[in-house]
Amino acid sequence: MIGPLFEIGERILGMLPQTFAAFILPIVIIVIITLIWALRWTPPPE
């Protein structure tokens, strides 16, 4: 269960767990995708 993980938002930031989850999950996913993009990047053919 990842529910308790989001209680960190409540304890440290004062946010509701569901607000913290809806906030942090998309950020983590987008950062991972753009990081993978950068690491696997190759130039397009000219």
Partner: protein, 536 residues
């Protein structure tokens, strides 16, 4: 009648900022000799100029004034705007469009996205003209929001009447765009983006600590319904009070904060509309080296997400302070005579209360920088659409470089004055202007751009008619329903959504029932469901 007291310190900082912009713009003007320079800086922008051009173009008066106004109104309930909104759009525009178009830019000498359409759809006249005109309309609607933002900050910080502040900025920005085109735009945006990013990163943490810190801000946001009821004598649910601390409502009939409204506006229109909106997508034709598409997206996303997040928190902080009775937010009288809380005043008003005076007077250049860095890009785009895409490429290909440059300059002046004149009567939340422009952009350009790049069946008939259907249905919905469509007992949705349905249905059906372009064209334009063709 309102009385105004001009702050001479703030005015001095304001003038110093304008002089700095004028100097940079002068060098941009010296560098601008051809229409390629004016429209796309001849594709010669370096890494940081490109990254900051994208950030500066997407974050605007809407961000520092409109997003703070939205934060004041609905708090965390529209958090998708911060995490998958503008920052997502510029990162993925660079990946999905900029990277894929790179080989075509060099092969076909593309200066605007309409150049790409002409090649991909073998339609150098009709679709180019349609796209150019719709693009100019988008820019025009977007510009209205920018001039509103300039007026708001000038009134609070500089102490001059709303319309005077926006008029001064109009004269400056139109002046340097007319002379320097895209070079002036990109170089001034470099300074402007740095200024407003640093400004937000410094001022918002001070504002949050003035409230009592991050934890206090969030906990007080949960108490706003009670606080505003006690101190302001308004109902607990006034202005979405119960939703300020939540990620929206699961009740689909709720306007603005309900999940269907969040999905249709912040899940669809804002991220995808910003990805294809003309003044952003044309930036990906201006950078010098394709290597910039490697680390550019993650840098843009992190840098931009922090800007918009912090700005919305400044708005939420203003709401908490207002509910506590610590801060007064001005009222705005609408054309109907109704008085509403002027939520767009949230950021400059709380900044005035929370920041040391020496820091506060630097806020005006920061916000002006955000506004002008988008305004100039919009003016260049709209002028290019009319002069380069429509007049030169459709009606008079033999026109001289000198004539087309002068036509571009006159169009910049006309569009600047026209959009400014519509901002003399402000609206309570300028975000609606920007979202309207994004609705038009998404519903007109999403399928021609994304379908054109990644779907081999997409053809010129589908592109033309999906653009027309999306544009017309969107305008009809805005005229009929305003900003939202309430389906009783079912859902409240953003009014641009039917336009997206219309353009999608038309694009898919026409692509399937009419012939695709020849294999030769599809191969030459690298069309298909990939980012990188297997072989050159």
């Amino acid at each position: 009648m309102a009385s105004f007291q001009i702050s001479w310190d703030a005015f001095t900082v304001f003038i110093a900022y304008l002089i700095a912009i004028a100097i940079i713009a002068y060098f941009g003007a010296k560098r601008t000799r051809t229409i390629a320079d004016f429209v796309a800086a001849s594709g010669a922008l370096g890494f940081w100029t490109y990254v900051l051009l994208m950030v500066g173009s997407v974050f605007s008066g809407m961000t520092l004034i409109g997003v703070a106004g939205l934060g004041f109104t609905s708090g965390w309930a529209n958090l998708w705007e911060r995490v998958i909104g503008p920052a997502w759009a510029i990162a993925f525009c660079t990946i999905l469009v900029g990277y894929k178009l790179w080989p075509l830019r060099r092969k076909y000498n593309l200066l605007t996205i309409q150049d790409y359409f002409a090649v991909r759809y073998e339609d150098p006249k009709i679709f180019r003209a349609l796209a150019g005109i719709v693009s100019a309309v988008c820019c025009f609607a977007y510009l209205i929001g920018q001039f509103t933002a300039i007026g708001v900050v000038s009134e609070v910080i500089l102490g001059v009447p709303y319309y005077i502040g926006s008029l001064i900025a109009l004269v400056i920005v139109v002046g340097y765009v007319m002379t320097g085109g895209m070079f002036s735009t990109a170089w001034t945006t470099f300074l402007q983006a740095l200024l407003f990013i640093v400004g937000v990163y410094i001022t918002v943490p001070i504002i949050i600590s003035w409230i009592g810190g991050w934890v206090a801000l969030n906990e007080l946001a949960s108490q706003v319904p009670t606080l505003q009821n006690v101190t302001r004598k308004v109902a607990p649910d006034y202005l979405f009070g119960p939703f300020l601390d939540s990620p929206g409502s699961l009740v689909s009939t709720m306007p603005l904060v309900g999940w269907t409204f969040n999905l249709t506006l912040f899940g669809l229109t804002v991220p995808l509309g910003l990805m294809v909106v003309p003044h952003i997508i044309n930036n990906v034709l201006c950078y010098k080296d394709v290597k910039y598409t490697r680390w550019g997206p993650i840098i843009m996303y992190v840098m931009g997400m922090l800007v918009i997040l912090l700005t919305s928190l400044a708005g939420l902080a203003a709401r908490v302070a207002w509910a506590q009775g610590r801060l007064e937010i001005a009222e705005l009288t609408l054309a109907t005579g109704e008085k509403v809380r002027w939520s767009d005043m949230a950021y400059p008003t709380i900044a005035k209360a929370a920041l040391p005076y020496e820091l506060f007077i630097f806020l005006l250049p920061c916000i002006l920088a955000a506004v002008m860095s988008t305004t100039d890009r919009l003016l260049v785009t709209a002028a290019s659409n009319i002069s380069y895409d429509v007049i030169k490429n459709v009606f008079k290909p033999t026109i001289s470089e000198r004539s087309i440059m002068w036509i571009s300059r006159v169009i910049v002046l006309i569009i600047g004055l026209g959009s400014w004149s519509l901002t003399i009567t402000p609206q309570p939340m300028l975000a609606w202007f920007i979202w309207a422009a994004l609705g038009i952009a998404l519903n007109s350009f999403f399928w021609p751009v994304v379908g054109g790049l990644f779907w081999r069946r997409m053809n010129k008939h589908a592109a033309r008619w999906s653009l027309v259907a999306g544009f017309v249905v969107t305008l009809i919905c805005f005229a009929t329903y305003g900003t939202r469509i309430d389906i009783p007992g079912v859902a409240s949705i953003y009014a641009a959504f039917p336009g997206f349905i219309a353009s999608t249905v038309v694009a898919i059906v026409l692509s399937l029932v009419t012939k695709p372009h020849s294999e030769e064209v599809l191969k030459a334009t690298f069309t298909g469901p990939f980012l990188r063709p297997k072989s050159s």
